[in-house]
C-alpha cells in the first residue's frame, strides 16, 4: 500500500494544528503529533468508526545519534478490520521533562510496553498504573541503557556492577506492592521495615 494512508487526511482535517507533519517511509505512513494532544489523537484513532485502530502493535522510543534531534516515542497502530497500519510519533525535545500521557486506558497491552520504554529511555508515562523498571532491577542506579549517552558497557566498572548486583538489599528484589502485602501479613522483618521507612531500599551498603 504505497502512498499516504487515508487516516492521515482525516487526522489533519480533525486535529489541524496538533498534527505537525506526516512522512512516508518504506510504504508506512508516519504522523508526528504534538505531545499535549497525543492522547486525544490516539483515542480518536481508536474509537472513531472510520478508523478503528483497535490493535496496538508496539510502543517504543528512538534516541538519535546527534543530540539536537529530539527523542521520539513511537506508537505502531493497526486496524485488524481494515488491515491498515499507522505510525504515530511524538517528539520530546530535551528541555522539558520527558513525560507523555499513558495510553493504558485505551489499550491494556500498553502496560508493559510503556514500562519498558520508561526503563530503557526514562520517558515517564503520566497515568500509568504501575510505572517501574521492568527489564533492569527496580533500584538500578546507572541510568537509562538505550540512551545514546549511555556507554555500551555501562558507567560503572565491572567490579562495581558485580558488587551492585550481589550486595543489594533483599527488599530491592521485591516491588512495593509485594512489600506492602508482606507487611500486611506481618511477614516483613524489622530491619527491612526500618530500611524502608528511611527510604534506603535502593541503597547498596
Amino acid at each position: 500500500m504505497t502512498g499516504v494512508s487515508p487516516s492521515v487526511g482525516a487526522l489533519t482535517a480533525e486535529f489541524g494544528s496538533a498534527i505537525l507533519r506526516t512522512v512516508v517511509s518504506c510504504g508506512d505512513s508516519i504522523v508526528y503529533v504534538m505531545r499535549e494532544r497525543a492522547h486525544d489523537v490516539l483515542a480518536w484513532l481508536k474509537n472513531t468508526p472510520g478508523q478503528e485502530f483497535d490493535y496496538l502493535t508496539d510502543i517504543t522510543a528512538v534516541d538519535y545519534r546527534d543530540p539536537e534531534r529530539p527523542l521520539e516515542v513511537v506508537y505502531q497502530l493497526r486496524s485488524l478490520g481494515r488491515k491498515a497500519d499507522l505510525r504515530v510519533k511524538i517528539a520530546l525535545d530535551g528541555s522539558a521533562p520527558l513525560d507523555v500521557d499513558s495510553v493504558y486506558d485505551l489499550w491494556k497491552g500498553a502496560d508493559w510496553l510503556e514500562r519498558e520504554v520508561y526503563d530503557m529511555f526514562g520517558v515517564t508515562f503520566v497515568g500509568h498504573p504501575d510505572l517501574r523498571r521492568i527489564l533492569m532491577w527496580e533500584t538500578y542506579g546507572e541510568g537509562y541503557p538505550l540512551r545514546k549517552d549511555f556507554p555500551l558497557r555501562g558507567h560503572f566498572s565491572r567490579a562495581e556492577q558485580v558488587r551492585q548486583a550481589l550486595a543489594a538489599n533483599p527488599e530491592a528484589q521485591y516491588s512495593l506492592e509485594e512489600l506492602s502485602l508482606a507487611q500486611a501479613m506481618h511477614d516483613l522483618p524489622a530491619d527491612m521495615t526500618e530500611r524502608l521507612r528511611r527510604g534506603e531500599r535502593g541503597l547498596v551498603p
Binding site: T60, V62, L80, K108, E116, T139, L196, G199
Partner: protein, 424 residues
C-alpha cells in the same frame, strides 16, 4: 470476593534510586470484612523453577490454593540486544537474532533479512523465497513441538517430551546440514542466504514431512481426549476476543480466542498467498484451544513444507547486486571489480538509505516485528524487536486471577514464553 486494594499512602522523606519519593507500605484495606490478611501467603515461583520455561519469576499471592494476584517479574535474562544492535552492521545483527527466540532461530533470521530488504527495497530471487518459507515453517514446527513437550511435562506427561525431542533432533540434523549449526543457524544474509541447501537435503526434508504427521497423531490421541489433559486445560485461563485484541496478543494466543488474524494471510510476504493452508482459530481462548491451535498449525506447516518442496527448482539464491551480496570467492580473487566490491562490503558493510521500516513476520510465538531506524550509515540508529512472547505474557495476571495454583503453571505454559525474546 471484592478485589483487595493495597494502600500505599504514607510517603517518607527518603528518595529511591530514581529520585522518586518512596512510599512506605501502609497495609491492606478492602476485601471482605473480617478476612484476617495473615491467612494469605506470598509465594515466589521464582527465576530458578522447573515450570517457568526459563528465568521468569511470578510472585503469587495465595489464599490457600486460590490465587489472588500474580505479579510477574521479568528481566532476569535481559542481555541488551537492542543496544548491541546499534554497534553492529546489518549483516552482523543476524547472529544476534538467533539468540533472542532460540526455539525458532531460522524464523528470526528470515524476519530480519526481510525487514532490511524492505528498508533497502531489494527484490530477492524466487528460489530464495521458497527456501525462506521452508526455513520459517520448519522453525514453526520445532518451536511448537518443544512447547508441546515442555507443557506436557508441566501437566505431568513425560513421554511427549521425548517424542518431541526425537522429532527436533531430526530437524536439528537438517539445520546442521544446511547451516553448520544446530541451534544458532544465522541462515540468511541481507539479499540472500548464507548457503544453498546441500545435495539430498530436500529428499531428507520430504521424508521428514511424510513421517512427521504420524507423531502428531500419536500426541493427538494421547492428549486431545485424555481426561486429565482436558480436565486441566478446558475452561482455564480463558480470554475473550475483545480482551485478546486489547491486550495486543498475537499468534496462537490471539487465534485461540477466536480472532482470525495471521500475518501470513493479512500481510503476505514471501508469496505466502500462493500457498494453500488454513489458519486454525479457536473459540473459547482457554488452554485447550491454544493447544489445539498449535497442534493444527503443525499439520498446516507440514503441508506448506510439502508444497514448498514441490515448487523448489534450481536457480540463484542471492540477488546479484554486488553492493549488497559478497561476490563469489572465485570471482573476488580474479576480477578486480569484484575484489573492490568485496573489500568495500567487508570493511564498510551495507549502507541502507536513511529512513525507518517496520516489518512484522508470523513467528511461532506471534507477530515478531523488526523496527529499524537508519541514518544512512552502516549501523542502525535503532533496532527495535517487537517481542510477541513479551506482550502475550503481559496478559498473564489477567488470566490467572482466581485460578488455582496448579492452573497458574498450566496457564504460564500455555502462553509459550521464551525468556530470550521477552527480556531481549
Amino acid at each position: 470476593m471484592t478485589r483487595r486494594t493495597v494502600e500505599m499512602a504514607l510517603s517518607t522523606p527518603g528518595l529511591d534510586a530514581q529520585g522518586r519519593p518512596v512510599s512506605l507500605p501502609l497495609g491492606v484495606t478492602g476485601g471482605e470484612p473480617g478476612q484476617t490478611p495473615d491467612e494469605y501467603m506470598l509465594l515466589n515461583i521464582g527465576p530458578q523453577h522447573p515450570a517457568t520455561h526459563g528465568v521468569l519469576r511470578l510472585v503469587v499471592e495465595l489464599d490457600g490454593e486460590v490465587v489472588r494476584r500474580v505479579i510477574p517479574h521479568i528481566g532476569y535474562l535481559h542481555s541488551g540486544f537492542e543496544k548491541l544492535g546499534e554497534y553492529r552492521q546489518y549483516n552482523q545483527i543476524i547472529p544476534l537474532t538467533d539468540r533472542t527466540d532460540y526455539l525458532a532461530p531460522m524464523a528470526n533470521n528470515v524476519a530480519l533479512a526481510l525487514a532490511v530488504e524492505k528498508l533497502m527495497g531489494i527484490e530477492i530471487t524466487e528460489r530464495c523465497k521458497v527456501l525462506r518459507v521452508i526455513a520459517c515453517e520448519m522453525s514453526r514446527i520445532i518451536s511448537h513441538i518443544v512447547w508441546l513437550g515442555t507443557t506436557g511435562i508441566d501437566l505431568g506427561a513425560f513421554t511427549p517430551f521425548l517424542w518431541s525431542f526425537q522429532e527436533r533432533e531430526r530437524i536439528y540434523n537438517l539445520q546442521e546440514a544446511w547451516t553448520g549449526a544446530r541451534l544458532t543457524t544465522s541462515l540468511t544474509r541481507v539479499g540472500g542466504m548464507m548457503a544453498d541447501i546441500p545435495e539430498g537435503w530436500d529428499l531428507a526434508l520430504r521424508e521428514f514431512t511424510q513421517t512427521f504427521p504420524s507423531v502428531l497423531d500419536e500426541v493427538d490421541t494421547m492428549f486431545s481426549r485424555n481426561a486429565i489433559w482436558c480436565g486441566r486445560t478446558q475452561g482455564i485461563g480463558a480470554m475473550s476476543a475483545e480482551d485478546a485484541i486489547n491486550y495486543s496478543l498475537s499468534g496462537p494466543m490471539l487465534r485461540a480466542s477466536g480472532v482470525d488474524y495471521d500475518v501470513r494471510k493479512d500481510r503476505p510476504y514471501l508469496d505466502y498467498e500462493t500457498y494453500d493452508f488454513e489458519v486454525p482459530v479457536g473459540e473459547h481462548g482457554d488452554i485447550y484451544d491454544r493447544y489445539m491451535v498449535r497442534l493444527e498449525e503443525m499439520y498446516q506447516s507440514n503441508r506448506i513444507l510439502q508444497q514448498a518442496l514441490d515448487r523448489l527448482e534450481p536457480g540463484p539464491i542471492n540477488v546479484d547486486d554486488p553492493r549488497v551480496i559478497l561476490p563469489p570467492k572465485s570471482r573476488a580473487m580474479s576480477d578486480m571489480e569484484a575484489m573492490i566490491f568485496h573489500f568495500k562490503q567487508v570493511m564498510e558493510g551495507i549502507k541502507p538509505p536513511a529512513g525507518e521500516v517496520y516489518f512484522g513476520a508470523e513467528n511461532p510465538k506471534g507477530e515478531l516485528g523488526y523496527y529499524f531506524v537508519s541514518d544512512g550509515t552502516a549501523k542502525p540508529v535503532r533496532w527495535r524487536i517487537r517481542p510477541p512472547a513479551f506482550i502475550n505474557l503481559a496478559a498473564l495476571p489477567a488470566l490467572c486471577e482466581g485460578a488455582l495454583l496448579a492452573d497458574v503453571i498450566a496457564i504460564n505454559a500455555s502462553v509459550d514464553i521464551v525468556m530470550g525474546e521477552i527480556d531481549r
